[in-house]
């Protein structure tokens, strides 16, 4: 059981390729981290997997427990068990947070089934307490006027409520101070289980001190260029992304020489 990304090529419709043959497999029960410099394609990867209409997949596949999700609408992908915690969560004026999450849960029920309101609020408050989100946030419009940290916590709240099989967290650490980071990481860690696979995208190693990954990948120029254990994150942190880029050009050079 895994989320498999195979030879994925994608671009903004009509534009340059952003993902250029990306391979990755996230097993259920494991946490994979993707690190990479700005502009390397991390958010693009998360959006392509979730089905954002701006991107066009030119080849490759994404399989969720063997099911091809690229043919599915974004909402069907989510109902199939995929979750994306957005780098930039979207504000939805006039729609309360509680109604929004409720609608998402309701969408997972069969026609004619109704979500039990009492149970729902019980669950919601429990998860909000864990994430130290004040109760007043149920009636506030989704993400509207939330601070950066509140938005990220709200993403984790949605993840906790929707219980995905595979979750992609896109820079869930950005914009958080250390206390908020601990709360969010604790929230994410609480969701780790043998039945959930996670792909944690981050620019900084810091997050991985709190969410310990099983595997670390480095994404540069739309490809995974290195995969190793957690130690890779520390190496990156001390040597910087330029180190990876240099070793890459060396590799490329070596490849060129070899092909001569």
């Amino acid at each position: 059981m895994s989320l498999v990304i195979h030879n994925l090529h994608a671009r903004v419709a009509g534009g340059q390729e952003i993902l250029r043959g990306l391979n990755l497999e996230v097993q259920k029960g494991s946490v994979h981290a993707i690190m990479g410099p700005n502009g390397s394609g991390k958010s693009t990867l998360s959006k392509v997997i979730s089905g954002h209409p701006d991107y066009e997949v030119t080849s490759g596949e994404v399989l969720l427990d063997g099911v091809d999700v690229l043919a599915m609408e974004p909402d069907a992908r989510a109902r199939a068990g995929l979750f994306l915690a957005f780098q930039y969560p979207v504000e939805i004026p006039g729609v309360s947070n509680a109604n929004f999450i409720r609608a998402a849960l309701q969408a997972r029920l069969k026609d004619g089934e109704e979500l039990d309101a009492v149970d729902y609020y019980g669950d919601l408050y429990k998860e909000m307490d864990k994430l130290e989100i004040p109760r007043t946030f149920t009636s506030r419009s989704v993400n509207e006027g939330f601070s950066g940290g509140e938005k990220k916590r709200n993403e984790v709240l949605q993840m906790a409520m929707l219980k995905p099989a595979y979750a992609i967290l896109d820079e869930t650490d950005s914009g958080l101070d250390i206390d908020a980071l601990k709360v969010v990481a604790a929230g994410v860690n609480a969701l780790r289980s043998p039945s959930v696979g996670m792909l944690v995208i981050t620019h900084y190693q810091r997050l991985l001190d709190y969410i310990a990954p099983d595997v670390v990948h480095v994404l540069v120029g739309g490809r995974i260029v290195r995969s190793a254990g957690p130690e890779l994150a520390y190496e990156l942190e001390s040597k910087g992304y330029d180190w990876i880029k240099e070793t890459l050009t060396e590799d490329a050079h070596a490849v060129e020489l070899a092909s001569v």
């Binding site: 089905g51 954002h52 909402d75 994306l84 957005f86 006039g94 998402a104 969408a107 419009s141 929707l162």
Partner: protein, 429 residues
């Protein structure tokens, strides 16, 4: 139709006071002699005058007992209201009131009864506020024909804890009704009132209504109208709100029904420190047309008004919002805002916004703006990424768009009722 109506309409309110009878007779003459407006008139630009031709309708006849009982059963309105009046074709069919109202000195009566029992008080306020955004012809029509409605008088200092309401039903076809609401809130009082406009059956009728609010010094009036006429009905609703110093008013319209519905709303900030919020949320679909005309009239210093009108348009629907802010020479330190927002959900829908400013004073803060847009694709994707179908996401985003207007109403339980009503209205989309 014969089993829907009583055979003979009872005569106009018996023993109506002399002044009222005379005024009605004069109004009838004015109605006869005045011309219908034309689309060349500023306040009728883009409007659909054909829909409002009074000659297509005759004054409504009363409904039979059986229908009245059924309408009564359907008159849910707002469950927690302190008092309820129910009218069918301009006849009172039910009256219910919390007994404490009377002991507080609140006068809560069908207009036709108040004309007898409180003639002097009614006379002082009845149709005294001129509306400059409509046509004297239709106002005369209303005054000549009005026979039912609400008279609500809240004495000095009395602050009512829950809303009061009236339900107006239109039944049959080819019938015209003339709902009237007159609210007088004395100094320091507070009241929330809701008018519900509903149809029984699918007949083509006309509603020509007036509601006048008199907000005393430091008084607070929240007036809500929920317009759910059937899809054949043509409606014309004229509102005036006169606000004395320190008084504040909210006028919120939830416009959902009708084939053509025009609403005119005038806020007069007569005393210093007066405040007015003018709010409207409109769902327009099919071939519906909504025509909204407003005036924020600042006549005193330190006054504040804020207008937010939002329209969601589907299919070939059409909306017009024409709003004027006028700041008179003496009204210094005025804040006046006007925002019109159109959410267009169909390429064939048409949203017209005609903002206007007339500022004759100094030190004034004014802003006005109208925007027309479509559903934001990032909001849509965010919702879909949570598993919500595209269709449901559209509906939820549209709900949110209009709900921002409802959120401005502080009365929480009533607001929830309005949200329910809006949600139900959007259900088909």
């Amino acid at each position: 139709m014969s089993d829907t109506f009583l055979q003979d309409a009872p005569p106009a309110p018996t023993a109506a006071p002399e002044w009222f009878v005379t005024a009605q007779r004069d109004a009838a003459k004015r109605f006869e002699s005045l011309p219908m407006p034309s689309r060349r008139d500023e306040s009728w630009r883009f409007s659909n005058l054909k829909a409002l031709d009074p000659l297509d309708f005759t004054q409504a006849r009363p409904v039979v007992q059986e229908l009245a009982e059924q309408l009564l059963a359907d008159s849910v309105g707002f469950e927690a209201a302190l008092a309820t009046l129910v009218f069918a074709n301009d006849r009172l069919i039910a009256k219910r009131a919390d007994e404490h109202l009377a002991t507080q000195g609140v006068i809560w009566l069908p207009l036709e009864e108040a004309l007898n029992t409180h003639s002097e008080l009614v006379h002082r306020h009845f149709m005294r506020s001129e509306s400059s955004v409509g046509t004297p012809k239709l106002l005369a029509h209303h005054q000549a024909s009005v026979r039912a409605g609400t008279f609500l008088y809240v004495p000095q200092g009395v602050r009512l804890s829950a809303p009061l309401q009236a339900v107006h039903w239109a039944a049959g076809s080819g019938q015209a009704i003339f709902p009237h609401t007159l609210i007088v809130a004395e100094e320091g009082s507070a009241v929330t009132f809701v008018d519900w406009f509903k149809s029984s059956g699918e007949g083509r009728n006309m509603a020509c209504g007036v509601n006048d609010l008199h907000v005393g010094p430091d008084a607070t009036v929240h007036y809500v109208s929920v317009q759910e006429w059937n899809r054949q009905t043509a409606a014309q609703q004229s509102n005036t709100t006169a606000i004395a110093h320190g008084g504040s008013a909210i006028n919120l319209g939830l416009h959902l029904g009708g084939v053509f519905a025009r609403s005119e709303s005038v806020s007069r900030l007569n005393g210093s420190g007066a405040r007015s919020e003018m709010l409207a949320a409109t769902v327009a679909d099919g071939a519906q047309e909504f025509d909204q005309r407003t005036l924020q009239d600042h006549r005193s210093p330190d006054t504040w008004s804020d207008l937010l009108y939002k329209n969601a348009l589907y299919d070939t629907a059409k909306t017009i919002v024409s709003g004027l802010i006028r700041v008179e020479p003496q009204a210094h330190h005025t804040d006046a805002y006007q925002k019109v927002r159109n959410l267009v959900l169909s390429a064939e829908a048409e949203a017209n916004s005609l903002p206007g400013l007339e500022i004759l004073a100094d030190q004034v803060r004014c802003s006005h703006g109208a925007t027309t847009g479509e559903i934001n694709p990032e909001e849509l994707f965010y919702m879909q990424a949570r598993g919500i179908s595209e269709k449901d996401a559209y509906r939820l985003i549209t709900f949110g768009f209009l709900n921002e207007v409802l959120e401005r109403l502080p009365d929480e339980a009533l607001r929830e009722k309005l949200q329910q009503t809006l949600r139900a209205r959007l259900q088909g989309h």
